[in-house]
C-alpha cells in the first residue's frame, strides 16, 4: 500500500514537473509595418497562441491571418483577399527550437538573448528562419520579444505594381508574447 502511494506521489510530482516546463499564451501579440512614406500599412494580432518548453527549448506559434486588425477595413480586406488569401490559407505557423537554451536560466530573473531556429510557414510557403529574441524572466512569467523582417516575394505574396510604392519591400514584424505556466 505504501509502495502504491509512493509510486502515485512520484507519478504526480513527475507530471506536475513536466507541466511546469510548458509556458503558454493565447494572447500573444504580433504586429507588422508594411507601409512606406506614402502610406501607413500597420496591423496587429492579439490572438496569437504560442508555447515554449523550457526543458527542450521547443517553441511553437500559431497565427491566424484573419485576426490581424488594420485601421482601415479596406486594407484588411485587401490583405486577406488579395495578398494572404486567408480563406484558402487561414493559418501561419512556426515550429522551432531555442538553440542556446543553456544560456538562459529560467529560474533567475533577468534579460537573456535567445536564438530560435525553425520552420516558418506563411501563405503556404515553408522556410527555415532564425529569430533573434529577447527573453525576460520575471515573477509574472516569461516574456519573449523578437523583431524580424520578411520579403513578401519569399512567401509568394504578389504585390501589384499599382500599389508597389505604397507597400514596403521588407515587412518589419514584432513578436511580443507573455507566457504563463500552463496549468
Amino acid at each position: 500500500m505504501i509502495r502504491f502511494f509512493l509510486a502515485a506521489i512520484l507519478l504526480l510530482s513527475l507530471q506536475s514537473l513536466s507541466a511546469q516546463d510548458i509556458y503558454f499564451t493565447r494572447t500573444g501579440q504580433i504586429d507588422f509595418h508594411a507601409g512606406t512614406s506614402v502610406e501607413d500599412v500597420d496591423a496587429v494580432n492579439n490572438e496569437v497562441t504560442s508555447m515554449v518548453n523550457i526543458k527542450t527549448g521547443d517553441v511553437v506559434f500559431n497565427v491566424l491571418i484573419k485576426s490581424f486588425h488594420f485601421k482601415r477595413a479596406l486594407m484588411e480586406e485587401h490583405f486577406n483577399e488579395n495578398y494572404l488569401e486567408s480563406s484558402k490559407i487561414p493559418k501561419s505557423t512556426f515550429n522551432g527550437k531555442i538553440t542556446n537554451l543553456s544560456a538562459i536560466n529560467f529560474s533567475k530573473e533577468g534579460n537573456y538573448t535567445a536564438t530560435v531556429e525553425g520552420d516558418f510557414t506563411l501563405h503556404g510557403v515553408a522556410r527555415k528562419i532564425t529569430l533573434p529574441a529577447t527573453v525576460t524572466i520575471s515573477k509574472e512569467g516569461i516574456r519573449g520579444v523578437s523583431h524580424y523582417s520578411i520579403k513578401p516575394q519569399d512567401y509568394d505574396i504578389a504585390i501589384p505594381s499599382l500599389v508597389a510604392d505604397k507597400i514596403a519591400k521588407e515587412i518589419s514584424i514584432t513578436i511580443d508574447c507573455r507566457y504563463e505556466p500552463r496549468k
Binding site: 493565447r26 494572447t27 501579440q29 496587429v44 492579439n46 490572438e47 496569437v48 497562441t49 500559431n62 497565427v63 491566424l64 484573419k66 485576426s67 486588425h69 482601415r72 477595413a73 479596406l74 480586406e77 480563406s87 487561414p90 493559418k91 511580443d176 507573455r178 500552463r182 496549468k183
Partner: protein
C-alpha cells in the same frame, strides 16, 4: 444656343464628380463589418471545438469568417496586451476552448457563468478563435 448647352452640362459634370468622389470615399472609408448586422450561426462552444479538433479543414469550410453565436460556460477571463477582454469558453478539453476577444469590456461577465457571444470566426490555433465579439442580446 451654345450658352444653354454649357449650362446643361456643368451641373451634370459636377454631379458625376461628386458621385466618383463619394464612391472613392466610401470604399476608402469602408465601414467595418459588425457582427450585430449579420445573421449568425448558433452553436455550443463544446460542439464548435469538437468540429475543429476533429477536422479543421471541414470546420473552416463551415465557420471561417462567419458570424458565430457561441454559447458556453466561461472558463477564464483575462486581458490581452491591448487591454481587450478575452473570454475563454470551456469545452471538453481541460486546457483549450473557444477564445473570444471582446470588442468592448463586459464587467458583468463572470467565470462560471453561461453566456452567448457573437463574433467572427478566425479559425483554430489550439483554441477556436472568435474575434470582435459582443454579448448576444438574444441567446
Amino acid at each position: 444656343m451654345i450658352r444653354k448647352h454649357k449650362h446643361n452640362i456643368l451641373p451634370a459634370f459636377i454631379l458625376l464628380l461628386f458621385g466618383i468622389l463619394a464612391i472613392w470615399w466610401y470604399s476608402w472609408e469602408k465601414p467595418r463589418r459588425d457582427a450585430n448586422n449579420e445573421s449568425s450561426l448558433h452553436i455550443a462552444a463544446v460542439d464548435l471545438f469538437k468540429a475543429y479538433s476533429e477536422d479543421e479543414k471541414k470546420a473552416n469550410s463551415l465557420y471561417l469568417d462567419k458570424v458565430i453565436a457561441v454559447k458556453g460556460k466561461i472558463a477564464e477571463l483575462k486581458e490581452n496586451q491591448q487591454g481587450q477582454q478575452l473570454v475563454l469558453l470551456s469545452t471538453s478539453d481541460p486546457i483549450f476552448g473557444v477564445a473570444c476577444t471582446m470588442k468592448k469590456k463586459n464587467p458583468e461577465l463572470k467565470t462560471g457563468d453561461t453566456t452567448t457571444l457573437k463574433g467572427f470566426c478566425s479559425g483554430f490555433t489550439s483554441d477556436v478563435v472568435i474575434r470582435e465579439c459582443q454579448v448576444s442580446q438574444n441567446p
